[in-house]
């Protein structure tokens, strides 16, 4: 008789694996990918493929060089690649896009130990690096459905126009809520179409890949503060990178807290920073910076807000 396997309980494992969860995120991102191609043309697909390829290659080479187990198969690098593309303007040069993928995977993710170890969101950090390295190219917005790339009409994002006071002065017309909802405005590939992003978010929640705590708290905080500051809450919710940030970026497993209470604090912090930047900073948009700043605070938030073990007395009482 062969030797029996003796191992610690539990002897069963649930159906989910890292790979299956990442695949779900990719599926959830597909409406946004489709929307980006419809809105900005086939070049959007080129950008997506470029960043994904760059991320996969970076991950593969890094793991080989570091002599660590190969992790390309867990698909997390594909998610990073898609998310990075979603955060780039369609007019970006593929070389810059590919460089962004290298930054995300090599510098932000693998140098800190790979999946689960990076302390900031790789795709967002890469976007910030590109924004600071190539500010003009990263803000060369193209109007949707204007697929003549060579000398496509440049436009601005609704938030940029708001910041520049173009709506107030009448130089630009504020897009309708429907246009914002469907993504018929200037902006990054995947951020404009709120409908596609919400569809993906609902899928992720239904598949229990993410809990709705972070997106709901984030969006709720932004809406409430926007109202309090006399801004237009619906415009704030639907414009810029807020939807993709709240649904896909702030919920990144590695860089968000793992317990309920800390998730609320973290997401509320993201919301506060987003509105503060939009209302008072010189930047038109603050989602990337808000999330990355809150990513850095995650260890501290988790230290401050811990779950209380079953049957332990509440804080303030003896023995707490």
């Amino acid at each position: 008789m062969n030797k029996l396997l003796v191992s610690s309980s539990p002897h069963f494992h649930g159906p989910d694996t890292t790979q299956s969860l990442m695949l779900d995120v990719i599926i959830a991102l597909s409406p946004a990918m489709v929307a980006s191609v419809i809105l900005f043309g086939f070049r959007a697909a080129v950008i997506i493929l470029t960043t994904v390829a760059s991320c996969i290659l970076s991950e593969y080479v890094c793991r080989r060089v570091m002599k660590r187990p190969q992790t390309v198969g867990d698909l997390s690098c594909v998610v990073t690649g898609v998310l990075l593309a979603m955060n780039l303007p369609v007019s970006i040069s593929p070389v810059i896009a590919a460089f962004g993928g290298v930054v995300a995977i090599v510098v932000v993710k693998q140098m800190f130990g790979g999946i689960g170890q990076n302390f900031v969101n790789p795709a967002l950090t890469a976007r910030i690096v590109l924004m600071n390295s190539f500010p003009a190219k990263m803000t060369g917005w193209t109007a949707p459905f204007d697929h003549a790339f060579v000398d496509a009409a440049t436009t601005a994002t609704p938030l940029g126009q708001l910041k520049a006071g173009l709506f107030a002065s009448g130089e630009a017309v504020k897009p309708s809520y429907l246009d914002l909802f469907l993504g018929n405005t200037g902006g990054c590939l995947g951020e404009t179409c709120a409908l596609a992003l919400i569809l993906g978010g609902v899928y992720l929640v239904l598949r229990r890949v993410i809990s709705p705590v972070i997106p709901v708290t984030y969006l709720g905080t932004v809406a409430v503060l926007s109202l309090l500051l006399g801004r237009d809450p619906l415009f704030d919710l639907l414009s810029g990178g807020l939807m993709i940030g709240a649904i896909f970026m702030a919920t990144d497993y590695t860089t968000s807290p793992i317990n309920f209470g800390a998730r609320i604090v973290y997401a509320a912090g993201c919301g506060v920073l987003t509105i503060l930047i939009r209302a008072f900073a010189s930047l038109p948009e603050g989602v990337s910076y808000s999330i990355v700043l809150m990513n850095i605070l995650v260890p501290l938030i988790e230290r401050a807000v811990k779950p209380r073990a079953f049957g332990k007395p509440k804080k303030g009482k003896a023995g707490a």
Partner: protein, 461 residues
Amino acid sequence: MDLSFPKRPFRTHGGAHVPHRKNTAGMESRFMPPPATVTIAMTQHIGAPCTPSVKKGDKVYVGTKIADSPAYVSAPIHSSVSGTVKELTKILMPGGQYADAVVIESDGQMEKDPSIRPPEEIRTKEQLVQAAHDSGLVGLGGAGFPAHVKLNIPEGKSIDTLIVNVAECEPYLTADHREALENGENILHGIYKIKEILDVHRVLIAIEDNKPDAIQKLTEIADNPELDPNDEVRILPLRASYPQGAEKVLVQACTGRCVPAGGLPADVGCLVMNIASVSFLASYMKNGMPLTMKRVTVDGSAVKEPQNVIVPVGTKISDLIEFCGGLKEEPHKIIMGGPMMGVAVPDMEVPVLKQNNGILVFGEKDAKLMEPTDCIRCGRCVAACPMHLVPSKLEKYALRRDTDALEALDIASCMECGCCAFTCPAGRRIVQAIRLGKADVRKAAAAKKAAAEKAEKEEKK
């Protein structure tokens, strides 16, 4: 305290959607004839092991006491067959440690010990505790905690609720389910006796809602106006969710009360007993036969004829499998208990213990474990932990052997239910690491205590 009957269970935290696979729920239990020999381990329970009181060549009967211990937390052990003591030996136990054992050669007669007679009418708490002790009863839900210790409610604590545990939340296991269907009368009598003696006026029979036939049967029993004129015994169907049957989770689901960390259900006025324990106690009071037989679910992908078998304690797994038609594929893993909390045994020679409720034999496919990869901080383990712990951090610090951090994370509250590891997408061996961590914490505490004692001695000098 509120003593009304809850209409639906209270909310509990965490848990995992484990598969049910209750394949054997619809099959009548079968009695297994005595095997050629039984190997009765001296560690059949939590607590001090027993010392054999028989020697080689002694004639024993079914129910003859063969071992006992003077320790309080222990339970006497009885022969499960009639025959002669073949040898006293040491055997490899499921946990991997060695234990003393008495091997008895069966004469095939299953002759009852002539000295066995029903105990005197039980009227007081002390008599009940004594009867539970003499019967050799241990918690039959799987933990094997001596029943007389549990029933001996400490001074100053009063019990207002008796919870009969029929949750049976582990996959595959249907032994309690069959007990409910086949032994309804006994169960009711057991409940009435315990309720009367302990003066408890609220009894909840807690059962997961995936056993509608057992719920119906138990409802018929509990709604008996003759036996239960004040309607003090009621069924509470629970959401079928693992680990509803874990004592602390069950108390919360039934009463909304929260057992303090490090405490017992008695601290919040509850007594939790497994259905098979209650049923056994009733039959012991009727006929005086101590615990020698156990209903065991035999199932798993490698077993030819899965079923519930009532086996003599000490029957080897190999004999039991034989009785169930043998194996249809090569065994790769054999689990004593359920797949979530059971123990993988090293070989088929391991005998059935009193608290066993399942023997599961798996072929290669089911035995295979996922290769662990890096933690992705998804937080699923935190959401799944019924004890509100942070399993991923416990694992991290356990592997670092950092006992201070482990204590700060309340490692002692972990009951090793396995929800964290079950849901972990990276397949981390979280429970295994936590077990290691618990052993480290115990060792560190013992070292600390020894150092303090030493310092005290030095001071006295």
